[in-house]
């Protein structure tokens, strides 16, 4: 049973990581990264590492996508002014 959860979590991680690489638009990439963060947190919980899962949830699920979105906004604003 526990092995099944780990296998499913591993497949989800591989899937969302591949999508994160294939998506080219940075805004969508940020959202996919957030999903990847949550899925990784599930995987870490499944392999009995709740401490790491919490870090992953906070940093990968919230902080990294947020910083990415802010960076994208800055770049887009500059482009908008140049036009």
């Amino acid at each position: 049973m526990a092995d099944a959860v780990i296998v499913v979590a591993l497949l989800l991680v591989a899937g969302s990581a591949t999508v994160a690489v294939l998506v080219r638009d940075p805004v969508r990439q940020a959202l996919v990264l957030a999903v990847l963060g949550v899925v990784l947190a599930v995987l870490f919980t499944a392999v009995q590492a709740p401490d790491v899962a919490l870090s992953q949830l906070a940093v990968g699920g919230a902080l990294t996508p947020l910083l990415l979105l802010l960076a994208v906004r800055k770049v887009k604003r500059r482009k908008g002014r140049e036009r």
């Binding site: 092995d3 709740p50 401490d51 919490l54 870090s55 949830l57 906070a58 802010l70 800055k74 002014r81």
Partner: protein, 246 residues
């Protein structure tokens, strides 16, 4: 270097890395086995020091010096960000326009904000007892504050977030970690050694000797660091504009 040589170089490096990784993995203990030599020792040590969460014991007691290094890395990264993202001479600040937020989003943000903040503080405070600790709780608490820009507006966020104070807090808590370490040295044992304070009653908030102190210092450091980091990014994304004609 033409693309072909570059590709060749990547292929050589990648193959080498793959071979080494596979060779190293083959010698690892089996997945899910019942022999954990390092785990057993770490658990024994953490029980001896009355720390219920073995991970906290590893982070803030057995490997407290490693954590000092990690904290310093975060501190240096934030200092670097502050320097890179500062307002330069050819930039000016524009007041951000109030943006429309859908009422359900606003309501949700205001309901979740206190819960998230309390969760963050709880995770910091219980680092030595249950999964979590200063780093995790610090990130949660710091990001929770930013829900205010959704729930109210950006200016309300700026009012509860005087960046200067958080920068000072960042430095103070980073020094608090070092000072706690030095206290161990002055107390007659070694830098960051957990021998100074009584270990307390197992599984209570004050148990674990210096573990809760170091944990709290890291919690404050991380929370301040994330607030400062996000403030600089928000400044650049929302307020700072280049002078026209540049």
């Amino acid at each position: 270097m033409n693309p072909r040589t570059r590709l060749g170089l990547v292929a050589v490096g990648g193959t080498g890395l793959a071979v080494l990784l596979v060779a190293a993995s083959l010698r690892l203990p089996d997945f899910g086995g019942d022999s954990h030599p390092y785990g057993d020792r770490a658990v024994r040590e953490s029980l001896a020091r009355h720390t219920a969460n073995t991970i906290a014991s590893v982070n803030f007691d057995q490997r407290a010096f490693d954590t000092l290094g990690e904290m310093t890395i975060l501190f240096a990264a934030v200092v670097g960000c502050v320097v890179l993202l500062r307002q330069t001479r050819d930039e000016h600040r524009a007041r951000p326009e109030p943006a429309d937020v859908a009422p359900p989003v606003r309501r949700y943000a205001l309901i979740v904000l206190p819960i998230a903040l309390a969760t963050g503080l709880y995770v910091i405070a219980h680092g030595q007892l249950s999964p979590g600790g200063g780093f995790q709780g610090g990130v949660v608490a710091a990001t929770a504050l930013h829900l205010l820009s959704l729930g109210a507006d950006y200016r309300a966020l700026e009012r509860i977030r005087p960046v200067g104070l958080y920068e000072v807090g960042d430095a103070v808590s980073a020094s608090a970690y070092v000072v706690t370490g030095l206290a161990g040295l002055v107390g007659g044992t070694a830098f960051l050694a957990n021998t100074l304070l009584p270990y307390g009653t197992f599984n209570t908030l004050s148990s674990g000797g210096t573990v809760p102190l170091l944990n709290a210092a890291v919690g404050m450091e991380v929370a301040c660091a994330v607030v400062v980091l996000l403030a600089r990014f928000l400044d650049q994304a929302v307020e700072i504009e280049e002078e026209s004609g540049k």
